[in-house]
């Protein structure tokens, strides 16, 4: 894969200020996402995993521009988003859509299913009748008979049906990329599996690219081509799914994967690999953010921040250069992997 990525981010950063007190002054800063760079290629599924609070959802909202980044760029199909000469927000949102975790809260309780789906095309100037026709087609595509479900209201539907409608809604603008933010996490295991199958089927049918965000390692392994592991607002490891799951490099990824329940009685989990909660993102640890919970932490980990694999290539603008570090690369941000970093375990 040497083509330019469909979606790329460079040093994306979002810090939320917590204000308080009489004068509304900034009391603390939550470093929700701090310098995140990755690429998504057309047709693949990038899984993003991490504990809650690691910045997965903020990353999704940054990609959609539902929150404005403090710094960094999002480049969609070679065009920088929200920059002069780049891609406008309305155009971006026609090409990139999102499915939210809470299937109930993300549907307007006062609109019937068909209207919820048709709303996007409607506000983009598609006439009402053809928007509704498109909605019926999409209901069919997500496995709901339009004649039964078009006029239903959210409170008349089950969680799985609602999430299917959310997916149909996201597809109504015929986007090229879909962000699935914990899209099946709130569903029952069996219902979630059905919705997952619908998603896989739709991806093939409409040539979609997915960014699949979840805390569920099994699900991510099942759907993803590549996986990105986040910890406290940073990317700690990224690579092809077999590589990351088979040969995890970062100690955090290893800890995360060893916490996966195993179906094989010969491979029982012997001890809890990670204790405690992630540190507060208001005052993250210096250097490597994982060092406070890492069994291999040394002085160097507190002093310097480990780089993520190679240096990220230059921004790829349409017709420009392709960055040297392309998708099959498997990178992890740990001093142990960098020769001469000063860590005793480094080669």
């Amino acid at each position: 894969m040497t083509a330019a990525p469909l979606l790329a981010t460079r040093n994306l950063r979002k810090h939320f200020s917590l204000r308080g007190g009489l004068l509304h002054r900034v009391q603390a800063v939550v470093q929700a996402v701090d310098g995140v760079s990755f690429e998504v290629h057309a047709g693949e599924t990038l899984g993003i995993v991490g504990e809650s609070g690691c910045g997965k959802s903020t990353t999704a909202r940054l990609l959609m521009r539902l929150v404005t980044p403090d710094a960094g760029d999002v480049v969609f199909d070679g065009a920088p988003v929200g920059r002069p000469g780049g891609l406008g927000l309305r155009d971006l949102r026609r090409q990139m859509q999102m499915v939210f975790q809470d299937s109930y809260a993300s549907l307007n309780p006062r609109l019937p299913a068909a209207m919820s789906i048709a709303y996007g095309p409607l506000v983009h100037g598609v006439p009402r009748s053809s928007a509704l026709k498109r909605a019926a087609g999409l209901l069919e595509a997500v496995g709901l008979r339009p004649e039964l479900f078009a006029n239903r209201y959210p409170h008349e539907l089950s969680g799985g049906q609602r999430q299917r409608i959310n997916i149909a809604r996201a597809l109504a603008l015929e986007p090229r990329l879909l962000i699935l933010d914990e899209a099946v996490s709130a569903l029952d295991r069996s219902i979630g599996a059905q919705v997952l199958n619908v998603l896989i089927d739709l991806k093939r049918r409409f040539n979609l690219t997915y960014v699949f965000i979840s805390h569920d390692l099994d699900v991510v392994q099942f759907v993803s081509d590549r996986v990105m592991v986040m910890y406290l607002g940073k990317v700690v490891e990224i690579g092809p799914v077999e590589e990351v799951y088979g040969h995890p490099r970062h100690p955090y990824t290893r800890a995360l994967l060893s916490a996966m329940p195993s179906m094989d009685p010969d491979h029982r989990i012997q001890q809890a690999p990670l204790g405690g909660d992630p540190p507060n993102p208001i005052n993250p640890p210096s250097g490597c953010r994982f060092r406070t919970r890492c069994a291999f932490a040394e002085d160097v980990c507190a002093r310097r921040e480990p780089p993520l694999g190679g240096v990220p290539g230059p921004l790829t603008v349409r017709g420009g250069l392709t960055p040297p570090s392309c998708s099959p690369a498997h990178d992890a941000a740990c001093h142990m992997l960098v020769p001469g970093s000063g860590h005793t375990r480094a080669a």
């Binding site: 959609m64 539902l66 927000l89 309305r90 949102r93 026609r94 859509q97 999102m98 939210f100 809470d102 809260a105 993300s106 549907l107 307007n108 309780p109 006062r110 609109l111 019937p112 209207m115 919820s116 709303y119 996007g120 409607l122 506000v123 983009h124 004649e147 039964l148 078009a150 006029n151 239903r152 209201y153 409170h155 008349e156 959310n166 809604r169 109504a172 603008l173």
Partner: protein
């Protein structure tokens, strides 16, 4: 047609009918209507209200006395007197006529200020709740200034400054009701705005106006209207109070609060007659209150 199994289990719909029902869908308002129909109290008070409103509207048709003309020979007749079945007041005017005509003014004083406050306060509140930030602070803090006065005091103060009269009463009550109206609509809107479906609508590239129309207004109008309905009774009571104090409707026009005041000295002579306007105020405001309660319950669909 439903087939009923012999052992009294739940009746099952025939497939055709089930399909037809599913096709039709259950719209929100249809649901509300179905629940309202079950609620006997709400139905009853709504009928009472309808009767009062119809009487006031068609007053000339149900009354055979001039409400403004009295007679010294028929003062303070008791209830059940021939030709004056509700009796007469302290200057011999027919109470039935005054009660019916008084309903016109009293209902107007109850409904119009609330309606005006709904328009002004509702739109201000939705604006504040939807935009947030500086505009929100500006609007809400200026409402807080008005909130500092107890509502009756504010109404009295405004009426006292502007002088008595129906127009001034309505204006005073409107100003009094704007702050609570703004506060309710602001909080409902802010709540709706933070829900995922609004974010999803923004994510689909919607501009602000359709977003407001399809996603925000839809969801905030119900609670705001219910609150407004509950204000009507307060408005009526305040208007009656203002008239009672001599700040509202001017004599000899019939208005329930004013009538209550005028009949006050007669309470020892003809207590039933003197209480009648009070009974009407109580009945009407109670009905509005119970109706808004019933509406709120019926509209609270979170199945």
């Amino acid at each position: 047609m439903a087939t009923t199994p012999a052992d009294g289990a739940l009746p099952l719909l025939l497939p055709d009918e089930a399909l037809a029902r599913a096709r039709a869908g259950n719209s929100y308002w249809k649901n509300v209507w179905e629940r309202l129909r079950e609620d006997k109290v709400t139905i009853a008070v709504t009928l009472v209200l309808l009767a009062i409103i119809l009487l006031a509207v068609f007053a000339p048709l149900v009354v055979w006395h001039d409400p403004l003309v009295g007679s010294a020979f028929t003062r303070l007749k008791p209830i059940g007197t021939e030709r004056h079945w509700l009796g007469t007041d302290e200057v011999g005017r027919d109470l039935w006529a005054r009660m019916v005509y008084g309903g016109r003014l009293s209902l107007l004083c109850g409904v119009l200020p609330v309606f005006l406050a709904l328009l002004a306060g509702g739109s201000l509140g939705i604006l504040a709740g939807f935009t947030g930030g500086f505009l929100n602070s500006a609007i809400m803090r200026s409402m807080d200034v008005l909130y500092a006065f107890p509502s009756i005091l504010l109404a009295i103060a405004i009426c006292g400054i502007l002088g008595s009269g129906l127009g001034n009463t309505i204006l005073a009550l409107t100003v009094t009701f704007i702050p609570p109206m703004v506060r309710i609509s602001e909080s409902v809107t802010a709540q709706v705005r933070s829900l995922d479906f609004v974010e999803a609508a923004r994510a689909s590239g919607s501009r602000t106006l359709p977003l407001l129309r399809y996603h925000v207004l839809n969801n905030v109008l119900g609670p705001i209207l219910v609150f407004a309905a509950s204000l009507i009774s307060i408005s009526m009571i305040l208007a009656a109070g203002l008239s009672f104090l001599g700040l509202g409707a001017t004599p000899p026009h019939p208005e329930w609060g004013l009538m209550l005041n005028n009949l006050r000295p007669a309470i020892w002579v003809a207590p039933m007659t003197a209480a009648l306007p009070g009974v009407m105020i109580f009945l009407t405001s109670m009905s509005f209150n119970l109706m808004s309660d019933g509406l709120r319950q019926a509209m609270d669909v979170r199945l």
